[in-house]
Subunit: 151 residues, 2 copies
DNA sequence: ATGAGTGCAAAGGCTTTGCATTAGG
DNA sequence: CCTAATGCAAAGCCTTTGCACTCAT
């Protein structure tokens, strides 16, 4: 997750929540803590498993709040569960390797040159289509090493 | 959807289904017909609306079959419904503009130079991670012109 | 005290499945 | 004929919501 200083992340989270008149509560802190410590985006069952004190509904509810505050980003794959990670401005821009067999998601980054050329091209595409782009999403879909070995 | 000759698409669909010992039935043909004629990936309600003779369960069931046969591709967005389009080898490689407000999906293509450089970089990333890449997915997430105008 | 936050349980909503009927080869 | 496919209705499953309780300000 390329985590930055933990204090900074919590401070930032608290600030952004405050901007929406939301508190930085125990559950919210726990979620941010888990996501900051994770090596990949986590699905809800994984979150509940890693912190047994979390209630399912509260986790979902607070992930929505954290997403609205721009602290957490929600990833939808073809997998059954949505996955959550810290927002890109907290972790750095990256992309995902998505395994269609086990559903796991892993981060990767592109060489800066390719990335910037990509951004340029996407900017042009957005302009041509009068599309107000918020961000782009680039994923590699396939089979991870573990799943390939397992069959 | 950059559709090719309609006859070719149906023939190809029939062939691929035959390879899995599946028939090319009325419902399956109707689904392929709709997707080939659509200007964008369609969600299930849109399919049912465009062909009132389709039963919901049969549509879902056959989309699964068509996807397994490599005729149809399923797209998952943050939107409530999954969307379906013809497989890329039938329509050509392309990407998606995804509107987070209305959920609509629109196709776009990248300049060949950028696309090929991208492929090269992704190939290298896959190699480094021992990841067997099946395909990549590049989407632009934001607000479409209609939704931007509407607010 | 008083409104936000929490957690349990129940409801929602997209998708899948059971089963009896129909049709294609 | 006989198996695959269809369609209705019901069930599944992830996620959201209702509501009473708790906690922080």
């Amino acid at each position: 997750m390329a985590l930055r200083d933990a204090r900074t992340i919590h401070d930032t989270a608290a600030e952004r929540l405050a901007g929406l008149d939301q508190r930085y509560t125990r559950v919210r802190r726990a979620l941010v803590e888990l996501l900051a410590g994770a090596e990949a985006p986590l699905a809800l069952p994984q979150l509940l498993e890693r912190d047994r004190s979390l209630a399912q509904s509260s986790a979902y509810r607070n992930l929505v709040v954290l997403e609205r505050a721009g602290v957490v980003h929600r990833i939808v794959t073809a997998d059954e569960f949505a996955r959550y990670e810290l927002a890109e401005d907290l972790t750095g821009h990256h992309h995902h390797l998505i395994c269609t067999t086990c559903g796991e998601v892993r981060d990767f980054t592109m060489p800066p040159g390719v990335e910037s050329q990509l951004e340029g091209a996407l900017g042009r595409v957005a302009g041509e289509n009068a599309f107000a782009a918020d961000h782009h999403r680039l994923d590699l879909i396939g089979t991870c090493a573990d799943c390939a070995a397992a069959r």
